[in-house]
């Protein structure tokens, strides 16, 4: 069927005008090249806008690098998924393209299968204990991240270096600290993937089983059956509700709303409140929940440095809180109806179960459901630990390195550090330390600011370019479980992608219902304040921290994602329709166009 489906060669993709030389921003192993041409043209590449919807600033490439290694190694070398190695990455015009490496040799598959069964069984059999340990490891790594010392280079070293016989200088320690930051990030992702194959694996199989009997079963239904209802990823939003209720109870709600609406900065609001006893009580409660629950980013997984956390910009959680206070005052119920959600989940599960054709089906269903429910807490909760909490802190620690480079006149502003690849930064830190130790002028101040300005311009322009969804050669069969599940690559999807143009876009049903309204295309989280009430949000992906936005919009359309996209879950929470995984929503729909979305059918119609 897809034999006539032809995709463009990755070597034929043109560089947009004014972006010439973009390649120099990225390491050579991330580029398509003549050396590997035959290999690279022989397989399928698709753009990963699920995780990386925007062109990659050179430093932000650390994220795909992290997960490329961590996820791939669990597939290829640790658990040895039988018919797949890892997921290959390349960058084209700033966008990340990914491609699974498949195994077809039956003998090798058998060999790997034996290992896989033994090793993965160990994780399933001991999941609860291992998950507990896993959480400890992740949190310990975050604590370590907070502790890494980053200090400016002094003119004279402190006396203690001599009296304590430390033996190493501040310069050396700076380089060490930078290395530790980078290692810490990679370690976070090592742990992220440790549970991934196990967690998503069970879910994938459960999905496959259910769809054999109920071919039309939707992702949201599957998610609903295995979801734990009370999950850590939703705690930040819960905390906002608690704070809103406390504010009303302590009668400080009026003051908070009034000041916030006068554009008084939250820090000042808090200072104002602290002046009396009740206000002080509320502020201490707020301070208490900030660590860790306000280490919550505004981006999906905080995969970009600009995805700041609530702790960096308290206006974001305050906006949510003020919204909840207003709703409380209008007598609205803001609690998530846990009991109802749990009942709904049980009823739906039981009804589907009763429709299975034989008792054998029911037995298999029960077993798979049990296993999937055991591991699903990981699937739902890991983004909070590995992505939000860790990354919000990580980006800020890199900014501290940025400050040091600013002081040395290597770069103009602290944010400019993100226009450098992590390996370039290491080199620059050596240059800085040499300059500091030797007393010789560094070269960087002379050329670096201009170079980074050019990079900034290129990235800005690349943001306007629409990456083709898929490139290369379509394989007979995909055996890489992540590609199938996380990115939903199927024959149908490839077909949709190859004919994206048109007035009706097809995606997946994310959250049921129909909405009609004006589209607002938002490519990145920092532009979210452009959204007007009653519009339909069109974006590459959504993030759970956009909570308040969900209460503003009528519906959501995303380019990528299925049940793993938080857009679906949150949209359902807010009772608004969502169509996810359209492939080309942000490139086809324009802001201001009237669209009609059907969250049950997974269609988006451009009306005018």
């Amino acid at each position: 069927m897809s034999a006539e489906l032809k995709l463009q060669s990755p070597f034929d993709v043109e560089t947009p005008k004014g972006c010439e030389g973009w390649q120099e921003m990225y390491p050579s192993y991330y580029l398509f090249s003549e050396e590997r041409r035959k290999f690279e043209e022989g397989k399928i590449w698709f753009v990963d806008t699920l995780h990386h919807p925007e062109p990659m600033a050179p430093f932000d490439l650390i994220l795909p690098e992290c997960w490329q290694i961590s996820l791939s190694q669990y597939n290829s070398r640790i658990f040895t998924v039988p018919a797949a190695l890892g997921i290959d990455h390349r960058v084209i015009n700033g966008y990340v393209y990914i491609s699974p490496n498949l195994i077809t040799d039956p003998e090798l598959i058998e060999k790997r299968k034996a290992l896989f069964e033994r090793r993965i069984r160990y994780y399933y059999d001991n999941f609860e204990v291992l998950y507990h340990l896993w959480r400890k490891k992740v949190i310990a790594n975050i604590e370590e991240l907070k502790r890494i010392p980053i200090k400016p280079l002094p003119e004279f070293e402190d006396e203690s270096i001599v009296t304590d016989a430390v033996g190493v200088s501040s310069g050396h320690k700076l380089i060490e600290s930078y290395d530790r930051l980078i290692e810490n990030m990679f370690r976070d992702w090592q742990l992220h993937s440790e549970m991934g194959v196990v967690g998503y694996g069970a879910y994938l199989v459960f999905t496959t089983f259910c769809r054999e009997v109920f071919p039309e079963m939707k992702d949201i239904t599957l998610g609903q059956m295995v979801s734990g209802v009370k999950v850590d990823i939703l705690v930040p939003d819960e905390k906002l509700k608690e704070l809103a209720k406390l504010a009303v109870k302590l009668k400080v709600d009026k003051k908070i709303v009034e000041l916030f609406e006068k554009d008084v900065h939250p820090e000042q609001i808090m200072a104002e409140l602290k002046k009396d006893k009740t206000g002080n009580e509320w502020v201490s409660k707020l301070e208490e929940v900030r660590d860790p629950w306000f280490y919550f980013g505004v981006g999906m997984g905080n995969f970009y440095h600009k995805h700041v956390g609530w702790n960096d910009d308290l206006r974001i959680p305050f906006r949510g809180m003020v919204d909840y206070i207003k709703r409380l005052r209008q007598g609205e119920e803001i609690e998530r109806p846990f009991e109802r959600l749990r009942q709904e989940r049980d009823t739906i599960t039981e009804e589907y179960r009763s429709l299975l054709p034989t008792d054998e089906h029911r037995e298999a269903f029960d077993q798979l459901l049990k296993t999937t429910r055991t591991v699903y807490p990981f699937v739902e909760n890991h983004p909070f630990y590995c992505e939000h909490w860790h990354h919000v802190i990580f980006w800020n620690r890199i900014r501290e390195i940025g400050d040091i480079l600013v002081n040395a006149n290597f770069i103009k502003g602290r944010e400019d550090i993100f226009y450098l690849h992590r390996a370039e930064i290491l080199q620059l830190l050596y240059e800085l330390v040499i300059s500091w130790a030797v007393g010789t002028p560094a070269r960087a101040p002379g050329y670096l600011p201009d170079k980074l300005k050019r990079r900034e311009e290129i990235l800005e322009r690349l943001g306007e370019w629409n990456p083709p969804p898929a490139l290369g050669k379509i394989p007979e069969k995909i055996t890489e479980p992540w590609t199938i599940m996380l990115w939903g690559v199927t024959t149908e999807r490839l077909k949709d992608w190859s004919t994206a143009a048109g007035k009706v876009l097809k995606g997946s049903a994310g959250s049921p219902g129909i909405a009609e309204g004006l589209a607002r295309v938002i490519r990145s989280a920092d532009k979210a304040d452009q959204i007007q009430p009653g519009e339909i949000l069109v974006c590459p992906v959504t993030a759970p921290a956009w909570g308040p936005i969900f209460s503003k919009v009528k519906g959501v359309v995303t380019d990528t994602g299925g049940v793993m996209a938080h857009a679906s879950i949150i949209a359902r929470e807010y009772g608004i329709p969502a169509v996810v995984g359209t492939g080309s929503g942000t490139s086809t729909i324009k802001t201001g166009e009237r669209i009609r979305i059907d969250g049950s059918e997974g269609t988006v119609e451009i009306l005018s």
Binding site: S2, A84, V205, T208, F209, F214, P215, P357, T371, I484
Partner: protein, 358 residues
């Protein structure tokens, strides 16, 4: 199970599906539906005993036996012979009067039915009801009205056990070519605003969590025959969400003209073609009936016929005319029984298989 072996007339609501041998399959099913509270059209059933008594007491049974002696089973496999035999036998049957006490009982039941509906000479359907389903072999008479017409058509219906097709079929299968007792259903004709079919699964994909409905204005014949493009609805059986509504072209409607006493296909007026033949509320009511029917018939997916009756009040105007098990997917899925293994074996084998792209 009924034990009064000699009884001729049963009200549908007295029957259950275990009365298959008493009144035939169609009556037993309709009975089960009424009995369990599904809105089947009101009416009564004539038992297999009624057929037997008629054949015996009028002497026509013996006459038939005698007549058929001149045929061998072999000759009745041929169309021409079967046709000649059919004509003769049916003429014999239709020429006999109904035994007096039976006539009294049937006419009495018909009058009671008219009273219940609140109209004289209610139009009824007289439907054959064999012990096993033999689609198209026996006959059904629609829009029968008035006591004498009912009696006449019941006899005709009995006679239809000798249609050429039925004779040939029995000869072919070696089932015996003599009398073939059946039950008869006498049920109110639906005055259909809209009607159609409903599967309690998606017949295209086999997905049992869906209910699919096809419908058109007027009588169901237009949908069943496939003559027109009907409206199509797909509903999630569990959440009751209407997932698909497709407006069909509905080129024609099958209508009963009560003055001329004929049913015929007519071009549909444009305003009805552009309007769905079911409201959302009606769709959900219908889906709930489908779910009920499925539960009633052992949890097997059902293939049903439905209609909305203009004569009945809104709260009880949706009727199920028929409900029988869907067989294609049921057997397919039962064959694909999972290898009962541990969850882990499942996971490893599924992760190894992958997904075909070409």
């Amino acid at each position: 199970m009924k034990t009064e072996q000699q009884k001729v007339v049963y009200w549908m609501r007295e029957l259950t599906k275990s009365d298959l041998n008493v009144v035939g399959k169609k009556c037993a099913n309709l009975g089960e539906m009424s009995n369990k509270g599904l809105p089947a059209p009101p009416g009564f059933a004539l038992s297999v005993v009624g057929y037997e008594r008629f054949m015996k007491e009028t002497g026509v049974g013996q006459e038939i036996d005698k007549y058929l002696q001149k045929y061998s089973t072999e000759t009745l496999k041929k169309a021409a012979e079967a046709e000649a035999a059919s004509k003769a036998v049916r003429k014999m049957i239709e020429g006999k009067p109904m035994p007096e006490d039976m006539e009294k009982e049937i006419v009495g039941a018909y009058h009671t039915l008219c009273q219940e509906i609140g109209r004289d000479d209610v139009e009824v359907a007289v439907r054959s009801s064999g012990a096993v389903s033999m689609p198209g072999q026996f006959e059904t008479y629609l829009y029968v009205h008035g006591a004498s017409e009912v009696i006449k058509n019941v006899i005709r219906c009995w006679g239809s056990t000798f249609t050429p097709r039925a004779i040939m079929f029995r000869a072919e299968k070696g089932l015996g070519i003599g009398i073939w007792p059946i039950g008869v259903a006498v049920i109110k004709m639906v005055n259909a605003k809209a009607s159609g079919i409903m599967f309690t699964l998606n017949p295209v994909t086999g997905d049992r969590s869906k209910i699919t409905i096809e419908g058109n204005w007027g009588l169901g014949e237009s949908v069943v025959s496939g003559r027109i493009e009907p409206d199509r609805f797909k509903v999630n059986k569990i959440t009751l969400e209407i997932e698909e509504k497709r407006l069909g072209r509905k080129e024609e409607e099958y209508i009963y003209d009560s003055k001329r006493r004929v049913t015929e296909f007519r071009a549909a007026p444009p305003e009805r073609r552009s309007e769905f033949c079911l409201t959302d509320e009606e769709i959900i009511k219908l889906v709930n009936l489908g779910k009920q029917a499925e539960k009633l018939f052992g949890g097997e997916p059902q293939d049903t016929e439905w209609a909305i009756d203009k004569d009945l009040p809104p709260e009880e105007n949706i009727l199920l005319l028929q409900s029988r098990p869907e067989t294609i997917w049921a057997s397919k899925q039962k064959k694909g029984v999972p290898r009962t293994t541990s969850a882990l074996d499942y996971i490893t084998s599924t992760l190894t298989e992958g997904k075909k792209l070409k």
